[in-house]
């Protein structure tokens, strides 16, 4: 039931994601002005910030689905957690690398063991741990349960990343956009950032649904093969 619906939904996310990526890049590079302090270098934020947000959001979603799958023995939920992991890891990697590209010209260094950056690196390791753990266990349900424990324990890292710039005196700058306060950046810069964020969201949904369909098929094929040979 879910499988064909997901297949039909994918283009509805993939096509707007492509359009919004192009629109976000256009606004970010052609309309938004240079920053008065950082000059042109700040334009890295149009990919860095949405990627960092997606890395955190996808982890929370992954832990949520893994937890639901574990608690209620819901196989689809656990498969969703597995499908989210690679995309979350990819966005976290993008945020780390683009952060280094931004840090070099603005701070004079590619990397410092700053609270925000270190906790983001830990997030990357949590993703790698989740993916490796699941890959190392043959029985999918056991792999789901083991992954769920790791994902749920690791979720404590998300508020640490988010609040790290407030709790510690970090080199990484504080939040420019907050939920309950007026953003402190120019409208066109904010527009580019939000368009890129929407594009990343839509891209994630399209890719995760495609991967989820693959996982469903893989597990069904394995199960039917075992059933056929009577193992």
């Amino acid at each position: 039931m879910f499988y064909p619906i997901a297949g039909k939904m994918i283009p509805w996310f993939a096509i707007p994601a492509t359009i919004l990526f192009a629109a976000g890049m256009f606004v970010g590079f052609f309309i938004a002005p240079a920053d008065y302090q950082q000059g042109e270098a700040y334009r890295i934020i149009f990919i860095h910030v949405p990627a960092a947000w997606m890395g955190m959001l996808l982890y929370v979603l992954m832990a949520f689905y893994a937890g639901i799958g574990w608690a209620f023995n819901a196989r689809l939920s656990s498969m969703m957690a597995s499908a989210l992991a690679i995309t979350g890891a990819m966005f976290t990697l993008i945020s780390l690398v683009t952060g280094a590209f931004w840090g070099k010209p603005t701070w004079g260094t590619w990397w410092v063991w700053d609270a925000r950056m270190t906790s983001t690196l830990i997030l990357m390791f949590l993703y790698i741990g989740f993916i490796s753990l699941q890959a190392s266990i043959d029985d999918p349900r056991r792999a789901d349960r083991a992954g769920a424990v790791l994902a749920l324990v690791g979720v404590i890292n998300i508020p640490i990343i988010y609040f790290s710039v407030q709790w510690w005196n970090t080199l990484h700058q504080g939040a420019t956009i907050r939920l309950l306060q007026k953003p402190t950046i120019r409208g066109s810069m904010l527009a580019a950032l939000l368009i890129m964020l929407a594009a990343c969201w839509l891209y994630s949904v399209a890719v995760v649904l495609t991967r989820l369909r693959c996982i469903i098929l893989e597990r069904e094929q394995n199960a039917s093969r075992f059933a056929e040979v009577g193992v």
Partner: protein, 64 residues
């Protein structure tokens, strides 16, 4: 509309490096996902063409 200078005020390497890396990561994800899908459909075609008795025989060989 301002046409951006490719050198980006001397930050070109950092800006284009960031976007190039991001593009490579996204393309890598899409390519690996399409390979996974292709492998699945090929696997399905193969297993559809192999009778269950053959699979049963090969399972006996490996388990004996």
């Amino acid at each position: 509309m301002n046409w951006p200078d490719l050198s980006m005020g001397g930050y070109g390497f950092y800006i284009w490096g960031s976007y190039l890396f991001s593009l490579i990561a996204i393309v890598w994800e899409l390519v690996s996902l399409s390979q996974r899908r292709r492998a699945l459909t090929q696997h399905k075609e193969q297993s559809d063409s192999v009778p269950a008795s053959v699979l049963r025989g090969s399972a006996n060989e490996t388990t004996s």
